[in-house]
Symmetry: C3
Subunit: 333 residues, 3 copies
């Protein structure tokens, strides 16, 4: 594809000569005939050495090779990938004869249901949605349009999924919440009779668990993106456009505001209210409510600058104690 | 259902007038015709504002609406849910023609085996047990009576499961333990030839991993409840009626006493002996044996009060160091 | 089996009389007619009490019962297990009529493909490999020889797997990496168009997630062993013969050197370079590059001895602050 054609398709401005591009690659790995991208000026050195034939760059950057200038070069890069690489393969439209559907009437005509899919009574699947092999969809669950449900996903009964939702393999949507009451020396199960609601444009990574509410709905807000191995307990309400990174856990009934980021391996205790635009750093463990806009880290989590100061102080502590012992000697002496 | 009928069925005492109840809901979400519950006096304010028509309360609490008085209101609530909500749907009794069973004779007549279930040689499944789609049951595995095995569960060969056990989707029971020996610059696999034994009334969350023992049995004791994404390594022995919360890990060969709680994202090192009635707080990391009845937190875990003191001190450390510098100036000056 | 025969087969030297052995067991659980093993002198007390009829021991150790002396007794133990216990059961060679394969021609004649396996277009499976029920293999994926793919594993399109690889149940190889770009108040997906390459002799535990690269390959080096519930993000390159223990996470684009150990519940931030022969202790959280050979712990991770000193100091901090207050009084007074 000609570089000028790529420019047109990703909405970039061409700088430098025309060139034929056949693939896209990372800046250190690109070879002749490939386009690469640079969003961060710290990779300028790599740009000088790259063998790529063209590069996607932010405004105001002069590249030594033909370039496509974008306001948001990372977005340009995302669009350019789609020009050279195939989307994930999906089954052809229609219902595989090797699937088992209790109510085929609920499946839109141009949805794709693969082999070994099981769907229970009253299941609805919208147009353009692909359901890959070994997916289980429980009674009364509804999946919207243009979703992609990867192999080995479990969607339990009554779960509601919006449009353009992606769920990666091994994830479980609507498993029972963890609720027991102590009686007679044992833990009696509290029935988990609610459901899970996933709004539009959500993406859920692999081997994620989102538990159903006890009575109402566990909610994942529009546009939120969840990474692998995340645990979201019953009755949690995650806002819109949140980022929840790998191996994070949110305990029961907590509410997470819109545009909040929970970085990798972080945790939020139960029954908390976390504001909007909050950032919990990696490994942060939140044990009390947080207002909008704060950046917290550490366990228990608090203001990130305070955490850094405390970490620095703690690192120096052994030396300080030594000095302290001397002074103590002096002051006692 | 009449409130007096609910009282009778959950074993509560009716206070206030008769009223017709059609559903059950959380205290802030309940509307007219619904019953709700209150176990903690701190929600008294919510009780004043609730639109519910009745409430389940502990003894000694005066509610402004008709109430059902219970010794254990949370237990009453659990029972009441079952009066208004359906249990999880299950396949009809019998063996689906879309399953693949090597030995159908081992399946009790009134067990339910769904489509796409695979069960190997010598598998036994007890009466009343439901096995949902895409479950794998390896050679010689035995599942007791009245169990519920959710979709996409893997039960490896020789695993023994008692009665009334619930296993949620994506969990793996009996995967190989992590055992290698260094030889010739590589890690040689130690065969993992034992099994897993799950006693009666255990519930296992979604995407849990319980590894088989190298030679004998990894054991989960009666009545223990395991949350999502928990890792239990080979040769571990978990006692009876334990609570193991989300994303916790127990390393190889450790022994956990009865009625012990491991809160979310906690960890126990290998070859340890943890007592009965121990509580490890969220994120606690246990690296040595613990006697009965202790409450520990932090990493490395120690007495919870000590952890709190140390955390408070660490938080104040930057300020203290500043003061320390001043004093040092004075004492040196 | 005669003890002398076991000696011959595991390459050990027989000491003490001949005896018939019928099974192998742990030292505290062994009974008459069983062989056990001792690699660590601290179990000498247990050896004196064991009811085993023979024991595998290191050189230079005098056992009170007939013994097999090995340079590497743990390796001898590993070999001995195989003499008494069956390997995991596998389907017979050939393709189950209950599987669904788009291109059966790509399956080697003596590979075993079980019921309910799905394999897409252009999939290749090598000789001696067993693919268990409910495994999904995406278009163009290739699996080498003598691999064992356990039930409910997902292998996405274009993933390349070497020889003698074991993948345990529930693991997902090649799920999309977590890549988004902020635009118009939402997170736009960056297509994840690369793949995953797993080299020879790798073992991957249960419910592990290894994401595909954005453009090139996420790589797991030869002989590396990965425990349960591990998260490996896109573009990561793990070296050869690494040990990655339970619930560990490696963020995007990091590079891990050969023979490095990441202990349980540890984490590595993105875009880091970790050396060879590094040890990250349990719960360690690495946030900067590490040279070869270091042992680090804590979060943020640093030299393990420093962490221990800082932990000890932190534990004493509350007392020290008390003393400090006194001195302050004195020095101010």
């Amino acid at each position: 594809m000609k570089l000028s054609e790529i420019a047109r398709r990703i909405g970039a401005q061409l700088k430098g000569g025309e060139v034929e591009i056949r693939d896209i690659a990372e800046i250190e790995k690109a070879s002749s005939g490939e386009i690469t991208f640079l969003s961060n000026p710290k990779y300028l050195a790599a740009l000088k050495k790259t063998k790529a034939s063209a590069v996607i760059v932010p405004e105001g950057l002069d590249a030594p090779i033909p370039s496509l200038v974008c306001k948001n070069p990372y977005l340009g890069f995302a669009k350019a990938i789609s020009l050279f690489r195939e989307p994930p393969p999906r089954p052809g439209d229609g219902i595989s004869p090797l699937s088992s559907l209790d109510d085929p009437a609920g499946i839109a005509e141009n949805a794709a249901v693969a082999a070994f899919v099981f769907a229970g009574k009253g299941v609805k699947i919208g147009a353009g949605t692909a359901v890959m092999p070994h997916v289980f969809i429980g009674d009364g669950a509804r999946i919207g349009e243009n979703c992609f449900i990867y192999p080995n996903v479990t969607i339990r009964e009554k779960v509601i999924i919006g449009n353009n939702v992606i769920i990666h393999s091994g994830s479980v949507i609507g498993s029972d919440g963890y609720g027991y009451v102590a009686a007679d020396g044992a833990h009696k199960k509290i029935p988990q009779a609610g459901n899970v609601v996933i709004e539009d444009n959500v993406e859920i990574g692999a081997n994620v668990c989102i538990d159903r509410a006890a009575l109402s709905s566990t909610l994942i807000g529009e546009g939120t993106k969840i990474d692998n191995l995340v645990h979201i307990a019953h009755n949690v309400r995650v806002g819109k456009h949140c980022l929840i990174l790998g191996q994070t856990g949110i305990a029961g009934s907590s509410v997470i505001g819109d545009y909040t980021t929970l970085a990798s391996q972080s945790g939020v205790s139960g029954h908390l209210k976390i504001g909007k635009h909050v950032t919990v750093a990696a490994r942060g463990g939140v044990i009390k409510d947080l207002p909008d806009g704060v950046i917290v880290s550490g366990f228990p989590a608090r203001d990130h600058r305070q955490t850094l100061k405390a970490q620095a102080a703690a690192a120096r502590l052994p030396k300080i104690l030594e000095m302290f012992r001397k002074i103590k000697g002096e002051s006692n002496g």
